[in-house]
Symmetry: C2
Subunit: 208 residues, 2 copies
């Protein structure tokens, strides 16, 4: 069933998951109740859930923890994919310190920086290495995922080092467009823009 899912469904799955995680795990939950709580169309929610889980029962709905597990498995949350972080400012440090990645199947294993004064430190038992060690580190451990939290003016250079190290998925928090070789996928996270989308949307919202 997994292969026929649309990217719209895919984008809603994390919403469901985040809502389900806030509920009593041993209880039951219906598609209708989820739709209501999240302000979504209940036919849509029913369809989305049916595409990733066979656990739905008439009247009772889903057992919450089973549905969490089905969505999680679908999204690959049982994996252990190594992730490195380049840029050890407060933001980068928070990525090393944050334990929430593991439940999504990611192991943030190491931080990198060019600042000698923090190289050698550990955060949350994770070492900070010099950026010059990135390539060897990633190649040896077959790391495919990198997070960029360096300043804008060094983001492209760090990106080049990452792709040269075998990294093919880059989550970029620097607000610059990154040029990458074919086959490498970048997702740009721009927090001020998220804020603008949230706080100014009513200004131009007459579609939904």
């Amino acid at each position: 069933m997994a292969k026929n899912i649309t990217s719209q469904t895919l984008q809603r799955l994390p919403l469901y998951l985040s809502y389900l995680m806030s509920l009593e795990k041993s209880g039951n939950i219906s598609a209708t109740a989820i739709a209501e709580a999240l302000g979504l169309n209940d036919v849509q929610v029913r369809k989305d859930l049916a595409s990733v889980s066979r656990g739905g029962r008439p009247r009772t709905g889903y057992v919450t923890f089973e549905l969490i597990s089905d969505i999680g498995r679908f999204l690959g949350f049982q994996n252990h994919d190594g992730v490195v972080v380049a840029g050890m400012g407060n933001f980068g440090k928070s990525m090393l310190g944050f334990d929430g990645f593991s439940e999504y199947g990611f192991d943030v294993v190491c931080g990198f920086d060019c600042n000698e004064s923090i190289v050698g430190e550990k955060i949350n038992s994770k070492p900070i290495l010099h950026i010059s060690e990135l390539k060897n580190f990633c190649r040896e451990r077959n790391i495919k995922i990198g997070i960029i939290t360096v300043p804008e003016n060094s983001a492209q250079e760090v990106c080049d080092m990452m792709t040269d190290s075998g990294i093919v998925y880059i989550l970029n928090f620097a607000s610059v467009h990154l040029n990458v070789p074919r086959g490498v996928r970048v997702h740009n996270e721009n927090i001020p823009i998220s804020l603008a989308m949230l706080a100014r949307r009513s200004f131009f919202e007459n579609d939904t």
Copy 2:
């Protein structure tokens, strides 16, 4: 023209902006060149840009800085909207330290925490106050936007304090569903989920 924009266009505008910011500002840029650089359909890009800027000329395209300014104005980036941040871990601190909000029309003015040992500190000239002062602070300054970077188990409580303080836009980094009164808008940012969408998408990608 602003009122007829679709949310799809709205979601692409930041992409254009981020790309344009990486270019020489005094040069020219065509919709076709932008489409190529970002891997988008050029008819779509042309339409998007025409909906926010009248600066497009046949053959030469747009003057880069004018187009940046038009998109920026459209997205409200000339505003000065006060923003508060609750939760002064490394992540919350990075929000105070980050200067990139101002170019998007946001002033992050203050951080809040319940940890007495950091209350009174300043980061990037911005004070950290005790969370009990949130309500007075926001009411006095008419703050409408809050960022939640507290642990999951206190996110709802902090959210309630924010909405009680007159905040109506909440950017939530805690991975829990927040219940808010009618009229309050929440945007959930879940970084591990962004990573999953990026790194695992090929697993179920046969639509676009």
